[in-house]
Amino acid sequence: MWIEVTQLFLNGLLLGSILALGAVGATMIFGVLRFAHFAHGDLMTMGAYFALLVVVGLNLPVMVALPIAMLMTAALAVGIDQVVYRRIRRVQPVILLISSFATALILRAVVQMIWGSSNQVYATGIQLPWRLGPLTIKPDHVLIFCTATLLVIAVHLFLSRTRMGKAMRAMSDNMNLALITGIPADRVIMWTWAIGGALAAAAGVFLGMDTRLHPVMGWTLLLPVFAATIVGGIGRPYGAIFGGLLIGCAMELSTLIIPGAYKPAVAFAIMILTLIFRPQGIIKGAL
């Protein structure tokens, strides 16, 4: 029994680290721009396919393609903001939300048009898992978890040490005061999209490495990603990391008692419970 639990917990950490990368970006975008970015899952998908482009086109290993895909997706996210969202920022947030939904559909259609709708993988062949006593761990999983951890540390250093990172936190804290202080909102917004896009790409690539690539891969992850941001307290990057890990573990561990098909429902249930009982997020303080 506990072997199974430990195994699921490890799987949960893996899924959780992927969710955390998506959730940190989504929560930062919410903090700075005050809307739930529905195309975030499809940014993940785009990132995964950008990496595939590099892997197939230049015959490079996926971990080398990762930073390239992150840059491409960051540029895409900034571009989408400039073309679509920037023009409608001053209107009601619900309009932004709906147009992000449309953006999601467009991105998915683009992926289908370019890469088709069948499943694809970065590398064929089977990786031999490591055996730790009764537990099995794939080398890829360790790689994903470690890289995700490094990225999260990088985001932490950015937010806590750099002028732009602090300005970003300031803007999500108190938009009006940021304006009064002379913080250039447009530049902060661009950086928010760039970082959100890059992290989404990493999440997408990791998901593709762990499973496979298909055009709705990111969309299906959107619900757990949003759940993670809400559990962590929306607009709070550190909370989103915690939320991602919690939702990931809960989803995996739930398969002990209910069929695996209900995993997204578990994320949904946790999100609803959080909204009912602790809408400000389940951890204390204002990190």
Binding site: R169, N174, L177, L179, I180, T181, G182
Partner: protein, 234 residues
């Protein structure tokens, strides 16, 4: 010389004008106080000057230049700092980060500025790692003023800096404002503690219904029986 001049300013949020032709002047080394009943338009006047509420008629001059309806970013770049009445700190950021962000527009080493702010508010140095949102009202007000001072402004605009403070802290805040002014910074301040504020002011304005009612030196306004009965609570 006049630092700031507001001339016949009309401004408001929606259709109606809240400010109906107000006139203000702040000299370079003055403390100028705006008093008046709740809803008089005092905060609106501050926001209009700082470019946060659109001015429909009239204009604002700063050291002889027209700055009407310029965005806050430009005000900061020109050396005008503003502390709003409410929500005037970044709550989840530390005291130090609040101060650093105050100097966002400044390139180069900000340590000397930080030292000056710590000299005026030693408490902020002690509590620099503290999250601003969990501090007391008095301390938050210090953070807010410290943040504004980081650009080394020539004009400091304060909206009710003593609101909600204990009598002891009110005295201390006014004392700090005098010190700041003594550094050569012009101060334009809205105050509810009108008697005390007029006590340290060079000049004062009484605003009501979005228009000037009285203006005079601080002592003269305090001595004016009309002002006393109507606006200073007898």
């Amino acid at each position: 010389m006049s630092l700031l001049t507001a001339q016949n300013v009309y401004a408001g949020y929606g259709e109606a004008d809240i400010l109906q032709g107000i006139n203000l002047q702040v000299g370079g080394d003055e403390i100028v106080v705006i008093v008046g009943p709740n809803g008089a338009g005092k905060s609106t006047a501050m926001k209009a000057i700082f470019g946060l509420v659109p001015i429909r008629q009239g204009h604002i001059e700063y050291v002889g230049e027209d700055i009407t309806n310029q965005p806050p970013e430009r005000m900061v770049a020109r050396g005008i700092a503003y502390v709003p009445q409410e929500a005037n700190v970044f709550p989840s950021l530390s005291v130090l980060e609040n101060l650093e962000l105050g100097a966002y527009s400044i390139s180069g080493d900000i340590t000397p500025r930080l030292e000056k702010v710590y000299e005026i508010f030693p408490r902020l140095r002690e509590r620099r790692q503290q999250q601003a949102g969990v501090m007391s009202g008095g301390e938050r007000q210090m953070v807010a003023m410290g943040r504004a001072l980081m650009i080394e402004p020539r004009l400091l605009m304060l909206d009710e800096p003593t609101a909600g403070l204990s009598p002891r802290l009110i005295d201390e805040t006014f004392e700090r404002i005098r010190e700041i002014n003594a550094l050569g910074i012009g101060v334009l301040m809205v105050e509810q503690n009108a008697r005390q504020a007029l006590g340290i002011a060079n000049r004062g304005y009484v605003l009501a219904g979005g228009a000037n009612r009285h203006e005079d030196t601080g002592p003269a306004l305090l001595a004016d029986p009309d002002v006393a009965t109507m606006f200073l609570g007898g």
